[in-house]
């Protein structure tokens, strides 16, 4: 390892860092999650779902369901307008209006006094269907004469993009080598351990309150208010503890929230609804499947000249965030290396299958599998070491990438070298396979809404001398609030134990975009830092006014120059009395510079960018194709690490999810029906499946993030896929190009069988 890197890389020793008090409730079994909620007079809601992948609804008869004792209401599409809504494109309805488009589509819903009655009533609703022809494969859905899913989207294309930067065609003409391959990635479920649950409460005085755990509560309540045609200030989201999200709970399951709200409005009682694990799989919002055709042009010396991609993503019946995910799949990996010429076509296509959404890193990990495999294919053909090929081309600090990303900090080359060194690139063990992979991830998007790029926070001095931080940014175990606590404590000069983070009630927290696009620490944390600094300023001014010359805060008191310490509680009460009831409050707003992002999608999309390189060491049983993962080395440039213990937890967890996607996971369908809708059939890694994971952080800092930090939570799973794919290819002699990489596929590859 280079000398300077050694000093900048943390020791692997883990210190016990600060942990938020909520963690104690979690280990004691006292933390209240969505599934645990009970309110007085609460009813239970259940959805009747379509048994057909595509059908016209001829009639719905709810009379038998309504006559069951204990049933309080039954709702159908008639309770809503039939105007589609959506996150990116408007194609979704809370309850089907005359037509169902996948097995699981919501047809009707009931509220009853208990689960059993609700289930019985849902089954008693009589629906007459006229079955329509279905289409399950995107390429068939694109063909002329195929069944059309949505009138507003002719040709079954929900979203598409054609993009050219530079002159790719000319570059391909000049190239010494052109490599190409096609890759296939199935739909992946975030598989958070707590299925989505909510309780909706409606009353004429306060309006609608949704008790549900969301990564982006303000985005969800904005959509719910719009669909229910309610004023935004009458819709509030209060969050219980969240049992995992990983992108799947940014918007969660909007139809579930809208349906439970309507049941609550109709009955005047709180209504609890949840998805069973099976419903999570058949009617949740997994990340889109993708077919990626890639072509790359290189010089003999390994310089990459151009890349061309043709991507079809499988939307299922409705879109959720799938257009954004398709966009990330199609372009984020272009900025890992200095690729001057790009030609891209991406089409998001409707099929009669489960609707799709997003998962940790927005498809960047799916694209990493394809683009990083192709890098190694090129290296093999050129006879260049894959590490050297990457070092020759990789993005560096100060670069403006092909899509206009401004790289203000970047230690990617160091990450690559460190990952290779740690895995033993120069001293490989015979019979084992080694693979490398590199990644970039946007860190704090500023283009979701060009007019709302940043975040704000409030820091309030309480009458007892403690400090409360109000933020709309969410923590669900990934450590955002612990990071905020540490950031606020550092800015205030207080022990972290005196700081509490409040984020779970949209009525009192600042409006926020929430936990997505790795914006928590970088954007949310910066707002917290600014709010805390503002409060500190106000405390110091007030302390002077109250009769003390102050120079700073230490251990819950203002440090006077005369060594007289002022009790913060006394100061808070002084201000409270003087103003007849106000608290000292610091407001922080972090508004990143406006982006030069243009209509072609060129421009800086994020305040900064995180980088990573992973290396994998594997072994293949040559008789059976069975894959043994010996080790993953994960080296990250996430700027300065705020909380090492949770940073390590993010790496371990993210690498394990990457491993799951590489080797085990993926939706299987039989004529539109999800064939693996249980954890027995949709396998996520267990403790016995996880190899040794070694982590390193290259802490160069960053000019934008609070205290030089950058995001980590999403990029941790990205390079795993390419690293494993390349290690398998190193051992097997060729690449498995369709995920997951199973023993069967490796065996077929080595035996030279034609895969289906």
């Amino acid at each position: 390892m280079p000398k300077d890197l050694e000093t900048l890389t943390r020791e692997k020793k883990v210190e016990t860092d600060f942990q938020s008090s909520e963690v104690w409730a979690k280990v004691a079994g006292k933390a209240v999650y969505g599934i645990d909620l009970i309110l007085p007079g609460m009813l239970y809601g259940k959805i009747l779902r379509s048994p057909h992948p595509h059908a016209r609804i001829k009639s719905i008869d709810t009379s038998a369901a309504e006559s069951i004792s204990g049933v309080r209401t039954v709702i159908t599409a008639e309770n809503f307008s039939c105007k589609p809504y959506g996150i990116v494109v408007d194609d979704e309805l809370p309850l089907a209006c005359g037509r169902v488009r996948y097995i699981g589509d919501e047809v009707a819903a009931v509220a009853a006094v208990d689960w059993k009655t609700a289930e019985e009533a849902a089954k008693a609703i009589k629906v007459e269907y006229e079955v329509l022809p279905s289409v399950f494969k995107p390429e068939e859905a694109l063909a002329e004469g195929s069944p059309q899913l949505h009138e507003d989207f002719p040709g079954n294309v929900a979203w598409q993009r054609d993009l050219e930067r530079g002159d790719a065609d000319a570059a391909f003409g000049d190239a010494d080598l052109v490599v190409e391959s096609a890759f296939s990635i199935p739909a992946i479920h975030a598989a958070y351990l707590e299925p989505i649950a909510c309780v909706a409460v409606n009353d004429n005085y306060t309006g609608l309150t949704l008790h549900t755990a969301l990564q982006s509560p303000d985005s969800v309540r904005t959509i719910v208010a719009k669909v229910l045609e309610m004023p935004l200030s009458r819709v509030r989201v209060v969050g219980p503890v969240m049992g995992g999200g990983f992108g799947g709970k940014v918007y969660g399951n909007l139809n579930l929230y809208i349906i439970s709200s309507m049941l609550a409005i109709k009955t005047g009682s709180p209504v609890k609804m949840l998805l069973t694990r099976e419903e999570e799989f058949i009617a949740g919002r997994p990340m889109i499947a993708a077919e990626i055709k890639l072509k790359m042009a290189l010089c003999r010396d390994g310089t990459i000249l151009a890349r061309e991609s043709d991507i079809i993503t499988d939307n299922g019946a409705y879109s959720a965030q799938a257009p954004w995910v398709s966009k990330t799949i199609s372009e984020r990996n272009d900025s890992v290396y200095r690729i001057p010429n790009i030609k891209t076509r991406v089409r998001l296509v409707y099929t009669n299958k489960v609707p799709t959404g997003q998962y940790r890193s927005y498809g960047n990990q799916a694209a990493n599998f394809a683009t990083e495999s192709l890098i190694d294919m090129a290296a093999k053909k050129l006879g260049i070491d894959p590490l050297q090929l990457r070092l020759l081309n990789c993005t560096r600090k100060g670069d403006l990438t092909v899509h206009g990303l401004q790289i203000k900090s970047c230690a990617l080359a160091d990450c690559l070298q460190a990952a290779a060194d740690e895995i033993g690139w120069e001293k490989k063990i015979r019979g084992r396979g080694y693979g490398l992979s590199a990644a970039i991830h946007a860190n704090g998007s500023i283009v979701f809404d060009k007019n709302f790029r940043g975040a704000s926070a409030l820091a309030r001095l309480e009458l007892d001398g403690r400090v409360t931080i109000f933020t709309g940014e969410q923590d669900y175990g990934q450590g955002a609030h612990t990071a905020f606590t540490i950031i606020a404590a550092r800015a205030l000069g207080l022990p972290p134990g005196l700081v509490t983070i409040q984020s779970r009630d949209t009525l009192i927290s600042p409006f926020s975009l929430g936990a997505l696009a790795m914006r928590q620490t970088t954007i949310g944390g910066r707002a917290v830092q600014l709010a805390a600094e503002k409060l500190r300023e106000k405390i110091e001014i007030t302390a002077v006014e109250a009769g003390s010359e102050s120079t700073g805060l230490r251990e819950g008191a203002v440090n006077g120059s005369s060594a007289n310490l002022i009790d913060l509680a006394a100061l808070a009460r002084y201000y409270h009395g003087k103003t007849s009831g106000l608290n000292l409050v610091g407001e922080g707003k972090y508004v990143p510079e406006e982006s030069d992002y243009d209509e072609s999608g060129y421009g800086n999309i994020s305040v900064t960018y995180s980088f990573a390189a992973h290396a994998a060491e594997v072994e293949i049983d040559r008789t059976t194709g069975e894959l043994t993962l010996h080790r993953i080395v994960a080296v990250h440039d996430s700027g300065r690490i705020i909380n090492l213990l949770s940073a390590i937890g993010q790496v371990y967890g993210g690498v394990t999810q990457g491993l799951g996607m590489s080797c085990y996971e993926g939706y299987l369908f039989e004529a539109g029906r999800v064939a693996n809708s249980t954890f027995a059939d949709y396998k996520i890694p267990t403790s016995l499946d996880v190899p040794v994971i070694d982590y390193q952080f290259v802490e160069r800092g960053d000019p934008e993030g609070p205290y030089g930090s950058k995001g980590l939570g999403e990029i941790v799973m990205v390079p795993v896929l390419g690293a494993i794919a390349n290690a398998v290819a190193d051992a097997a002699g060729d690449w498995v190009t369709d995920l997951p990489i199973t023993a069967e596929k490796i065996y077929q590859l080595m035996a030279g069988w034609e895969c289906e």
Binding site: G243, R277, Y476, Y652
Partner: protein
Amino acid sequence: MDNQEVVFTLNEELVRVYADPAESLLTVLRDKLGLFGTKVGCGRGECGACTVLLDDQPVNSCLIPFGKVEGRRIETIENLSRGEEYHPIQKAFVEKGAVQCGFCSPGMIMSAHALLKTNPQPSLQEIKTAISGNLCRCTGYKQIEEAIASAAEKKSRR
């Protein structure tokens, strides 16, 4: 089925509960007895979030018909701490960063608790095997394994 009286030991107390013997133990614990520490992740015995101890053995409470607990001992996560006094396994989970979303934690801790009762100094492989029925999506299991090893070590030193 009709409700019937089932007498069993719950968290070291003898209790009589009237409930449907065909209901799962999980449903009775949560919906009848208000013990919400035991979580529901799948309802099919595949995720381990509902792990409790039945006569010191870890079981998926979603798979145990309530009638079967007659005369037996049940221990849930609620028995491991008293107010601010936490069990060494719980402390180790916090210290080692073994908790992220925390949804698997009660079941995971109960599996660890069962392991350490019968095997106070387990090997890493024994720890991995003991929690292999408890799915965790957040942590990659590493810090959980470290926590269990650390709790075992502290126990043996005392």
